[in-house]
């Protein structure tokens, strides 16, 4: 019996001798990729339909606003009311795109592949969160900036609303952070995209209807103070309340909000809760 003879051929695999980029680079790349994906860039044409439609709809108020300013010399829509006015459109974007960011990786169980690199769970979750926050912020900030440029160029008789513009930009950032954390937390609980969309939109429509019903009933019962708190069930009014109390802008609900730090504390608690739920969900998914 002869010994088996084997030869290991050198088929020319080469080592990687280049620069090894850091953990931060990988996280940034993931965030950028997710941000592009949220707008359908780098994805097939039909994935672009909805984000492009949403972005175009968000620009409509800017176009109308500039046209009205140029022709009638007055400002139709205050800067700080943009997000509340367009809340349905923002909710559709959040519901449609946040499952895209989280669901495929969970469904195809590729998380361990990411985590076999220097990227940690925290980096992964952070990258997704930053990507969605930036995407939402851009949706609000671009029309606001367009209106602002329009106002500067048109030269209305009233002074330019520098303060309102800056307050609205700050408010947009709070809107983006709160919405992104809620959207990702809800969407990450199911690996199916359809169910993710349904649960995010169900959350929004539920809070919308609940705040309207409680507000109406409590107001008709004469409990004005409780009514003002109950409208904060809707996340858009919650952030608007924070914006009003923080920057002193005009409320967009026509009734006013509870003053003080209450709304801001609720908003921070919601963000913290959503982000920790998201982090725990991913720690569990990474272990399985």
């Amino acid at each position: 019996m002869t010994q088996p003879t084997g030869v290991i051929h050198d088929i020319g695999y080469r080592h990687y001798d280049g620069v090894r980029l850091s953990r931060g680079y990988a996280a940034t790349a993931l965030a950028l990729h997710s941000l592009r994906g949220a707008f359908g860039l780098g994805r097939p044409a039909r994935s672009k339909i909805i984000p492009f439609l949403v972005a175009a709809t968000m620009l409509l108020p800017a176009v109308v606003s500039i046209a009205v300013m140029a022709l009638l010399k007055q400002q139709p829509l205050p800067y700080t009311g943009l997000a509340v006015t367009m809340q349905a459109v923002l909710a559709v974007f959040l519901a449609a795109q946040s499952p895209y960011l989280v669901a495929p990786d969970l469904r195809f169980r590729v998380l361990p592949l990411y985590l076999s690199r220097p990227v940690t769970v925290l980096d992964y979750v952070g990258a997704k969160f930053v990507a969605l926050t930036v995407a939402l912020f851009l949706l609000m900030a671009v029309p606001l900036t367009l209106i602002y440029i329009g106002e500067l160029l048109v030269e209305l008789e009233t002074p330019v609303h520098h303060g309102d513009y800056l307050a609205a930009m700050g408010g947009s950032l709070i809107f983006a952070v709160l919405l992104a954390s809620i959207g990702l937390a809800l969407a990450s609980f199911t690996p199916r995209r359809g169910l993710g969309v349904a649960s995010v939109i169900a959350f929004y429509m539920f809070t919308l209807a609940a705040s309207a019903v409680f507000f109406g009933v409590l107001l008709s019962e004469g409990l004005d103070n409780a009514a003002k708190w109950s409208i904060l069930i809707n996340p858009f009014f919650l952030v608007d309340a924070v914006q009003v109390n923080l920057f002193g802008t005009d409320p967009s609900n026509g009734e006013g909000y509870p003053p003080g730090f209450g709304p801001a504390a609720i908003a921070l608690a919601v963000i913290a809760l959503a982000l920790s739920a998201l982090f725990l969900r991913y720690r569990k998914a990474a272990a399985s």
């Binding site: 994805r43 097939p44 039909r46 994935s47 909805i50 349905a88 459109v89 909710a91 559709v92 519901a95 449609a96 495929p104 199916r192 995209r193 359809g194 169910l195 969309v197 349904a198 649960s199 939109i201 169900a202 429509m205 539920f206 919308l208 209807a209 609940a210 309207a212 019903v213 409680f214 109406g216 009933v217 409590l218 008709s220 019962e221 409990l223």
Partner: protein, 238 residues
């Protein structure tokens, strides 16, 4: 109708934790009704407003969306529908069975809680509870059929359904009266108005339009879904 297909679909919809997605909203509706009763808002006006805004305006379309697309979309997304389609069962019969499952789920999770919530709030006063349950029943069946069809037509069924329910029925229907004519929840309110004698409830669409519209939309959607299943092409996603 095929009982095996029906039982598989029921298991897919209700199995494990999925039932909570369906049960959470009706439970919230009943909880809100109890809460309103406790803070003393148990009058007819409140009940009608809660039913209009919440039961018919929010929960019904959402459940229609979850149940209507849920019975078929995940299977198409996974590609597992091919196992079902390759069996010698007529495709229109598969569509009809899926529709029956979705409709029964909506009745159980929407029409029944609607009745319970209104009953908890004001009892049988002015037929509000019965009226809205009646409206939710038929509008729910129409939603099931339409969203089943959307689920067969497109992979982005839930998003399309959300845009219909939120943007068309909610936002545009709020400003443009003409848009309310083509809104399933408005047809449901018309039906509710027929049964209820409450003066707070005013339907925008005439019964002579709403009743035939519900029947035609339901039948056409189920038939079209069955027809579409006969030539379904499975394309890769992303």
């Amino acid at each position: 109708m095929n009982s095996v297909v029906a039982s598989i679909t029921y298991r897919a919809m209700l199995g494990r934790k999925r039932i909570w997605l369906l049960a959470a909203l009706p439970l919230a509706l009943i909880a809100i009704a109890v809460l309103l009763r406790l803070i003393g808002g148990g009058d007819e006006n409140t009940a009608v407003r809660l039913m209009e805004k919440f039961a018919i305006g929010t929960i019904l379309p959402l459940l229609g969306l979850i149940a209507g697309t849920g019975v078929i979309s995940p299977e198409i997304e996974d590609g597992t529908i091919i196992h079902l389609l390759s069996k010698p069962i007529p495709r229109p019969s598969i569509a009809l069975t899926k529709f029956a499952v979705a409709a029964s789920l909506i009745v159980a999770f929407s029409a029944v809680p609607t009745f319970l919530a209104a009953y908890l709030l004001i009892g049988t006063e002015a037929g509000v509870a019965a009226g809205f349950a009646f409206g939710a029943l038929f509008a729910g069946i129409a939603y099931a059929a339409v969203f089943l069809l959307v689920g067969v037509l497109t992979k982005h069924a839930v998003v399309v359904g959300v845009i219909y329910a939120l943007v068309w029925e909610g936002a545009i229907g709020g400003y443009v009266p003409g848009a309310r004519k083509l809104s399933i929840q408005q047809w449901g309110q018309t039906l509710a108005d027929q049964v209820s004698s409450s003066p707070f409830l005013k339907a925008d669409v005439a019964l002579s339009f709403a009743a035939p519209a519900i029947v035609i939309v339901t039948v056409v959607a189920v038939l079209w879904a069955g027809q579409r299943l006969r030539g379904l092409s499975l394309t890769g996603d992303e």
